[in-house]
Subunit: 592 residues, 2 copies
């Protein structure tokens, strides 16, 4: 069994030395002083390390069980979820009026990273509930908010999102589930939804389903979708539970991973539901949640890799096999720890450089969401909308690859159950798929976000990079090791944007063939930018001589590795984008 | 459940149009005329498609069970293995004197690809048995050969390889298992072996274990290892089975994949064994099998991907979701098949271009092994020794990535059990680990093979590429689309070799940090070379107008995709190699 150790020093470094959150001009950030964030992180870490992490393997081994419509989750899961609720961790950022603490969303992400690293499957119940809370906070009526939010925030009830149906995943315009209006203002929902995470389980007294359905007579396609709240048990006006609603779990998916998370086939049989937001405004309501939901999945992508990397490091320290090529490092033992071997070290450095950059990227994204929502800053909204598919797509692709790389370090031990590694790989795999496959993220980035508002957000991002890389960096080592490589990568990005501008309209297939590479190119530039910022902060920390030199030196060494070994991938992506999709689209369909 | 369709046209194309095997000056190849190979492939395909493939999912779901030392394999596995034996498929290439057909090893690979695509877990019993047969053919005494080979070749007995122990996998010098000499010339073997594939099962009457152990008094390290044959049941002189030997399965690993293959902890308790080959010559005996064994794993790497790709294509044809960006392609349906979307098409083309190149590479490797063994050609031996770690490492890395890519095509369906996709990913993952992790392959390539005999093999490989890419390609399209890109990639390879020559001796850690990238760079050049050869053959086929134009056109289009989209990766790998390992080795061990 692997253990988990929360990277508290890194959280502190990012929030206070890199991002200076307490001084940021975002409403609510002034409360994020160093002591406060440290206290919050320490509490969350304790829960993650001692309660959630030991349940990770149990959850995988036991999985969920469906009997007579009742889903039993793994041993310990209900108790652990109760602790998440008791600790206030379900929705730190929910309004105080509804039982939350009103903290910035950022703190939901920092604590969320730990919970995911500790136990991704368990934390999915929290993640889905958080999403439903956010949707009701924005689109729910005051009565709906009062009725549903407090018990969800407290962890007594959970939430779900019901979009997918057998005939449609990506293409929601094909949704068939019907919502028949009733005289009392409610609706009767009928249809089947699939792949509903947390659709049924034994961890909460009630489950609040948010369901996309079609009111008869509305427009076809996505424009005719409305959002409904459908509780498992009807809720009386005093908040107590009433009759069981007409919604039930009729199937449970066996999955590659996240076994502790129930993935349900849900049957709605004239279930009573209430409209959330406007009629036919369902997709729009879902979309306003999307940046947050997708950032949450991106966070999963690297958070599982955090734990996989920790396990790989522990193995590499302990396993004695072979000798260092430069002479024995453990001469009194039968062999050296495999940490001495350059290829093992390369893999560990690749993992580490990605993880630390990804964390900075996700947290920066969270501050953009906070700025967009709390300061109502349209530029922040534009930037995070542009970067959301990159956070989701790049961090989950690379997070999975990082788990695979970590799994490779221990050799055979990486393949056997119970050692942890293979579970991390299986769990991490889903993040590339759900909440919009990474192919859809790439399409969203290139087909929608890149050109939105005349390309304003990408121009703003380019300006931001330019501001960080203008000539005249005072420190020559920073210039050579960090700023110059980012400048080079940003040139690749700019050239790629040029290709899309030139080709996008007249040869859309040619352009879209390069969408995946463009997403990765952008992801690398983002992580390069993060490393420039972290390197500056580490230099400042060293210069201040505050006694943590080893931490800062390690940060700089890790960043240099990213800039030299990972960032040059931008040239390959640019080349593919320039090459275009001729060979991609060349084969006739029948030749496949 | 997915189906499997054997790529018979491709086999024919490679053997006869690309490699011209019937005319090759390798003893035994004259028998490989087009009709003969077609007949063999058709028979093997029937078995693979109708018997082995349907058992793949059952094998995964049921796995193996250990009770009181007895391992029960999945339903249908024993019968299927008997059919492999009855059909003569266990060791086509074994000498006729021992019950084989004496066919070239190449035919073992072509048929083996189908068996692996159909059912990797089941075919592992064949693969291990084949390895044991090969070892006994080369190193066994005439008595051992007569005693063990015929029933193994016939599929009545199976074979295993016993190397790993708890304290050693890669570093075999740490092996502790003892072999005490007895007065009758036999030995008593005592020790524990782990991760023994097929160590115990219910598919054969007897199991022939080949075991690395240490004769007391011998040299320390790998020089003191000897190879022993240790049958599960002792074999009387008339070939009938005698007493149960002191070897038993005391544990079964739960694994990420290949559930149908038993992976055993084996206890040897004064088990009777007989020396195979010379005393203290055990490692050498194992090494002579290694090219073949590693090529077999490389073949697994892409063969699983073949089936994953077929499943992805089938899904992409059937699933209706969204509309083509250039206008509806299925206007009468609710949506277009997702095959129309450029990102889906890109993924499928990446998969296809890799698979077809990998197949050519593996088959070419098999002909080199045949040339080395049958024609006793030291140059072929040198070349295949150089390329073996590339075949193993590159084809399994990329084969796994190809399975992951195929799994991405169906979205959520790729993640649920029973749809096939997630099993392919889990199964393919092991090939990167066993038979020497891919990190070890990279070390073997750079640290051992590159400089062997003064770098003779790499020089020969460079000559070979040069001969295929000299200026003056008659066909301008071939020159532009295939030859020129290979020439460019070969320049990257040459530059990388230069870095290793310059740096290897004086900065070994710097050099070895680039080993992984060098392996991938070489792999790309090899696949590029294969595509040049295939493109020439396809052009020739088109020119001959033999009525299969669609096949040749698709081959050329697929090859162009490889040359434009995959091959340029060589520049990235070269850049990393040139960058060197400074950042890889920079962190002190305690900083991890």
């Amino acid at each position: 069994m692997t253990t988990y150790s929360a990277p508290l020093r890194d959280f502190d470094f990012l929030l206070h030395e890199v991002m200076g959150v307490a001084d940021a001009d975002i409403p609510g950030y002034d409360a994020l002083d160093r002591e406060t964030t440290a206290a919050i992180h320490t509490e969350a870490a304790k829960l993650a390390e001692t309660i959630l992490a030991p349940l990770n393997e149990i959850g995988d081994a036991q999985g969920c069980r469906l009997e007579n419509g009742v889903v039993t989750t793994p041993e310990g899961f209900p108790d652990a979820y109760r602790r998440l609720g008791d600790g206030g961790w379900i929705a730190l950022d929910c309004d105080e009026a509804h039982g939350g603490t009103g903290m910035p969303y950022l703190m939901n992400c920092t604590t969320g990273e730990m919970f995911v690293s500790a136990n991704m499957a368990l934390n999915m119940y929290q993640g889905l509930t958080h999403g439903a809370i956010s949707a009701l906070q924005v689109h729910g009526s005051p009565d709906q908010q009062a009725r549903y939010l407090p018990p969800m925030v407290a962890g007594r009830w959970t939430g779900t999102m019901n979009l997918t149906e057998p005939q449609c995943g990506t293409d929601l315009g094909l949704i068939r589930t019907r919502a028949e209006p009733q005289d009392d203002g409610s609706y009767r929902i009928t249809g089947q939804k699939i792949w509903i995470s947390g659709g049924e389980h034994d961890m909460a007294e009630n489950i609040v389903h948010l369901v996309l359905a079609r009111i008869p007579g509305g427009p076809a396609g996505t424009k005719g979708l409305s959002l409904f709240v459908v509780p498992k048990f009807l809720v009386k006006d005093d908040g107590s539970l009433g009759a069981r609603n007409g919604v039930s779990c009729v199937g449970l998916e066996a999955k590659m991973g996240i076994h502790g998370a129930s993935t349900c086939v849900m049957a709605y049989e004239a279930a009573q539901g209430w409209l959330v937001g406007a009629e036919h405004g369902g997709l729009k309501a879902m979309f306003t949640m999307m940046n947050e939901a997708r950032l949450g999945v991106g966070l999963q992508g690297y958070a599982v890799a955090v734990r996989a990397h920790q396990a790989a490091v522990a193995f590499a320290r302990e396993r004695l096999q072979g000798r260092s090529v430069t002479g024995a490092k453990n001469p009194d033992g039968p062999a050296d720890p495999i940490l001495v071997h350059p290829d093992v070290r390369r893999a560990l450095m690749d993992q580490r450089a990605f993880i630390e950059g990804a964390r900075a990227f996700a947290f920066w994204g969270a501050t953009l969401i906070d700025r967009a929502h709390r300061a109502r800053d349209p530029d922040a909204e534009g930037l995070i909308s542009l970067l959301t598919p990159v956070i989701k797509g790049y961090l989950t692709d690379q997070g999975f690859e990082t788990c695979v790389s970590a799994q490779q370090v221990p050799g055979g031990t990486g393949y056997v159950a119970g050692a942890g590694f293979e579970q991390f790989t299986r769990d991490a795999r889903i993040a590339m798929i759900y909440e919009g496959t990474n192919g859809i993220q790439a399409l969203d980035l290139v087909g929608r976000k890149l050109g939105a508002n005349g390309g304003k957000a990408m121009l703003a991002f380019a300006d931001l990079i330019r501001a960080e890389t203008r000539n005249g960096e005072a420190d020559p080592a920073l210039e050579a090791d960090f700023v110059a490589p980012l400048r080079e990568a940003a040139r690749d990005l700019q050239a790629a944007v040029g290709v899309f501008i030139e080709r996008g309209m007249k040869e859309p297939e040619q352009a879209l063939a390069g969408a995946h590479d463009f997403l990765r190119l952008t992801g690398h530039v983002c992580l390069g930018l993060m490393w420039v910022r972290m390197a500056r902060a580490a230099q400042a920390g060293l210069a201040a001589g505050n006694g943590d030199a080893a931490f800062y030196e390690a940060k700089l060494a890790t960043g240099r590795h990213y800039m030299r070994w990972a960032l040059p991938e931008t040239a390959l992506h640019l080349r593919r984008i320039q090459t275009g999709g001729e060979t991609v689209m060349a084969l006739p369909a029948e030749a496949f």
